[in-house]
């Protein structure tokens, strides 16, 4: 266990805990802080995926508290968290951790995404990077165990016995000698006035006694989601609220030159006010339709900016030239990749868009001294800070209430704009204003997954790879929004290079990354660079296996090091292959491909089974996935994440490509940017392995999408003898490869 969760640290009540009695209606509240070593844990593990040399300490020092318990006098246990639910099941998994130590069923804990004011210092990480469960695993259990021991001590006092004679179970405490006299948590809280943290470190429940951790506990948020009661940012409502819309540029580099006339907007029925402030033009109306109608009536002159086209951007995102950063160096790869006999291949991935089906939306109630925002966001604290900056207020004057997120996928990890728009309009009209973007705005004003280019080179000797190089160019992923963090890294956007390093046991390895500045906003997308980098590296592995005349599975296994990681990877490769029937006869016209990846310390292997349809469309029939994500808190939740991640991979591999044309995005709705539908979705089977009996959970939300595109491309290679080098694998690209 890390230092952060060590009992000694938690024992110090005044530093480690915030204890408050006398909260509304009486009760007990207990917060805890997520100390630095916990965060270093995930950062160092994340850095491991890219380059050990960038794993230097990050200057991120969150203080207390990142979680907050409340027990009301009627016995309700509430847990407030900084993390947000966007479908990944995090609220259920984290509640399971608390439930285990509180000895209370998860369904009896009311877990809530805390409003920002509930926490004394900001959680700027937000909910991202597949890290919520792994970073909270130790401290949340420790806090819950401490709360349990405090309840036990209180019960001992009230029952006239000693703490060691008290049992705590199912929301009640009783003396073993007198089990009929039971005190509920509510009764305990009502009677107790002097709370003390236990003199002894609160013991954690041993894994052998776990009742909730490791169980497929049903999701706590689903009943509301199937009955229409769940409230997302787009659904936020308060009495007397109005609807807003804001004027946006028509092109990527568009700038407002001048407003010609707002008269027609003002005369649109239902319009309350047209707001014009220097660079900001918006309308507030009594209905959403009126707001949208009015904003379309504003006459403005725009400076369109450069009329970028796709080809120009692709030329920018090409490896080579100055500025490349070596992010991995083992041996001397360049010396071994000279002259004859070097195998080379290039790969490209396109712009893609997260397209959460809930577009950006926020409701703001701006008062002179205080602003309240209700929104869908993965980063409530960043939103709070950015709204405060935009309104020239202090962050503590801005309250962000995070509502359910109708799909995040990175798009809502940095989305303060929508809240700022709502807040400015609300301040201008002196009433609460809801702003929701249309699908067109969502696509036009978002940030994209950057295109990437990869050049791979390798040399084989005696059927083994002796040297390999991966040169990679990408638009920014994390650098786009994290300048403070970026400064501490040297040139390497570790989001873009996620999955780019080569961990096979090859004597000479080198990975070089180029950051490319693009005229299009780019940023996080589920898995960041993982899918693109894995597509390149793992597709290339199959080309090398073919050159070595080796079976792709055997070839990979032969190149795994005899390390913990190597053994874990071998286990998932074998498990996926066995279950998929690797090497056994398939239906005519079918073929299989295999690929693997490592991310947030989770290893994943996938076998894709595909066929080619008459119109050269690739049909992915089945994906068999094996994943070692360490200790699994909720196996059904982990499976669901893996199933969804595979669909993301398939969608990306076969369909998704955003194009820039004449200075704007070519497609501004889902008719021009198709995403995967049920009829094209493969069957997915997920095998969860904890091959090393790890006592620690790793990442689950993003890692399982790593291998999908490569596994499909490798199946295509097995089927046709032709390799695929550019995502998505559209019928046109397939035809080109088959005829070329």
């Amino acid at each position: 266990m890390s230092q952060a969760a060590s009992p000694r640290r938690w024992r110090v009540s005044r530093r480690g805990f915030l204890i408050a009695t006398g909260i509304a209606g009486g009760g007990l509240a207990l917060g805890f802080r997520l100390a630095l070593p916990e965060l270093q844990l995930w950062l160092s593990e994340w850095a491991e995926q890219t380059d050990a040399s960038t794993g230097a300490p990050f200057a991120i020092t969150p203080n207390d508290p990142f979680a907050w318990f409340e027990i009301s006098t009627d016995g309700e246990v509430r847990l407030f968290l900084t993390k947000v639910e966007m479908g990944q099941g995090v609220m259920t998994a984290l509640t399971q951790l608390a439930a285990e130590e509180l000895r209370l069923a998860p369904s009896r804990i009311r877990v809530q995404q805390g409003p920002t004011s509930r926490f004394r210092s900001p959680d700027f990480f937000g909910t991202a990077g597949s890290t919520s469960v792994l970073t909270m695993f130790a401290p949340l259990r420790q806090a819950a165990a401490t709360l349990r021991e405090m309840l036990r001590a209180a019960a001992a006092q009230q029952l006239g016995t000693t703490a060691d004679q008290v049992e705590v179970a199912d929301g009640m405490a009783f003396a073993r000698a007198q089990p009929s006299r039971r005190l509920t948590f509510g009764e305990l809280v009502r009677e107790q006035t002097n709370w003390e943290t236990p003199p002894q470190p609160a013991p954690l429940t041993p894994p052998t006694a776990w009742r909730y951790i490791g169980q497929p506990v049903p999701r706590l948020d689903l009943r509301d989601k199937i009955t229409g009661r769940a409230i997302y940012g787009y659904d936020a409502r308060v009495p007397g609220m109005l609807y807003g819309a804001v004027l946006h540029p028509p092109s990527l580099e568009g700038k407002l030159r001048r407003i010609v006339s707002v008269e027609r907007a003002k005369q649109t029925p239902g319009v309350q006010q047209v707001v014009v402030e220097r660079d900001f033009v918006g309308v507030v109306a009594r209905t959403r339709a009126a707001a949208w109608q009015a904003i379309s009536q504003i006459e403005a002159e725009w400076e369109i900016g450069k009329r970028w086209d796709q080809d120009e951007i692709e030329r920018i995102v090409t490896v080579g030239g100055p500025g490349g950063v070596v992010i991995q160096r083992v041996g001397d790869a360049p010396a071994h990749l000279q002259g004859e006999g070097v195998i080379r291949a290039e790969y490209r991935t396109p712009f893609a868009i997260q397209t959460p089906l809930e577009a950006q939306a926020a409701l703001a109630d701006a008062r002179p001294e205080r602003v309240t925002i209700w929104a869908s966001t993965q980063s409530p604290f960043m939103m709070q800070q950015q709204v405060a900056l935009a309104l020239r207020m202090r962050p503590d004057q801005v309250e962000v209430v995070p509502l359910l997120v109708g799909g995040g996928f990175g798009r809502k990890s940095f989305n303060p704009e929508i809240a700022i728009e709502a807040a400015r309009l609300s301040r201008a009209v002196g009433a609460p204003v809801h702003v929701a973007w249309t699908r067109q705005e969502e696509l036009q004003l978002g940030f994209l997954r950057p295109p990437t280019h990869h050049r791979l080179s390798a040399r084989l000797e005696g059927g083994r790879i002796v040297a390999i190089e991966h040169e990679q160019a990408s638009g920014d992923v994390l650098f786009a929004f994290a300048p403070g963090l970026a400064k501490q890294l040297i040139g390497n956007d570790f989001g873009a290079t996620r999955g780019a390093t080569i961990r096979y046991a090859i004597p000479h390895r080198r990975v070089v990354a180029w950051r490319r500045d693009l005229p299009v906003r780019t940023g996080p997308w589920r898995g960041l660079g993982l899918l693109a980098n894995t597509f390149a590296v793992e597709s290339f592995m199959d080309l090398l296996a073919r050159a070595a005349n080796a079976d792709p599975l055997a070839f990979r296994l032969a190149h795994l090091p005899d390390t913990l990681w190597g053994r874990r990877m071998a286990a998932v490769l074998r498990a996926a292959a066995d279950r998929a029937g690797w090497g056994r006869p398939l239906p005519p016209g079918h073929a299989q491909g295999i690929a693997c990846s490592t991310d947030v310390n989770t290893v994943v292997a996938q076998v894709a089974e595909i066929a080619l349809e008459e119109d050269e469309r690739i049909r992915v029939h089945r994906i068999t996935l094996a994943m070692d994500c360490g200790l699994v808190v909720n196996p059904d939740g982990a499976r669901a994440q893996a199933e969804g991640a595979v669909m993301w991979g398939v969608s990306s591999a076969l369909l998704e490509e955003a194009r820039v044309s004449n200075g704007r995005l070519a497609a501004l709705n889902l008719d021009g940017y198709p995403i995967l539908s049920l009829d094209r979705a493969p069957a997915v089977e997920v095998l969860l392995l904890n091959t090393t009996n790890s006592a620690q959970p790793y990442g689950v939300g993003e890692p399982p999408m790593g291998p999908t595109a490569a596994a499909i491309a490798n199946a295509f290679l097995a089927l046709t003898g032709r390799s695929l080098h550019q995502m998505p694998f559209t019928p046109q690209r397939v035809r080109e490869r088959l005829s070329g």
Binding site: M86, G87, Q88, G89, P218, R219, D221, L222, R223, K225, I226, T227, G228, R229, A230, I231, Y232, Y234, D235, R237, Y243, T287, R288, A289, T355, P356, L357, E358, A359, L404, V405, G406, G407, G408, F409, T438, R439, Q440, D636, A640, E643, G644, A645, V646, M647, W648, S651, N669, L670, D671, I675, L676, S677, L678, D679, R680, A681, A683, V684
Partner: protein, 155 residues
């Protein structure tokens, strides 16, 4: 103007699209909005028992018809078979598309004779899910069909 929604009459302005009348005027935010062009299916509601996309349906055209939204699908605490199946298989992730998925399935389940499974899956292929809950949607369709068949058999 009045709309018959979930068994009772509600006053609405009568302007614009059904999706906004339901969500913004009546506060029935269980009906979602995804694309605004009738493509993703997040806004699907029942109009006289048929699945209709509320984002491309004007309020005037549904006057006098029976509208059912996700909020009106369960009978008290008794979930509709489509809802039961989605819960049993823990289908939703973010949940934004799920009202539309469930309503689309509910419309199919209320047809007689009951459509076969491929027909149901083909219909649900017009409801997009960005979280990629498709493997579980398939399982839920199968379960929901069975549930309805069992209910019929008991009658």
């Amino acid at each position: 103007m009045e709309l018959n929604v979930n068994g009772s009459l509600h006053r609405v302005s009568g302007d614009g699209l059904l999706v906004w009348a339901l969500r913004d005027e009546l506060g029935l935010t269980g009906t979602k909005i995804g694309c605004g062009i009738g493509l993703c299916g997040a806004c699907t509601v029942l109009v006289d028992g048929e699945a209709v996309r509320a984002c491309i349906t004007s309020v005037r055209t549904v006057q006098g018809k029976r509208i059912r939204t996700i909020e009106g699908l369960a009978q008290g605490d008794q979930l509709h078979p489509a809802q039961q199946a989605f819960l049993e298989h823990q289908v939703p992730q973010c949940g934004w598309c799920m009202s539309g998925q469930i309503i689309t399935l509910a419309a199919l389940l209320e047809q007689r004779p009951l459509p076969d499974e491929p027909t149901m899956l083909a219909a649900l292929s017009r409801n997009l899910c960005r979280c990629g809950c498709y493997t579980r949607i398939r399982q839920a369709v199968r379960s929901a069909r069975l549930l309805v068949q069992q209910q019929e058999a008991r009658r």
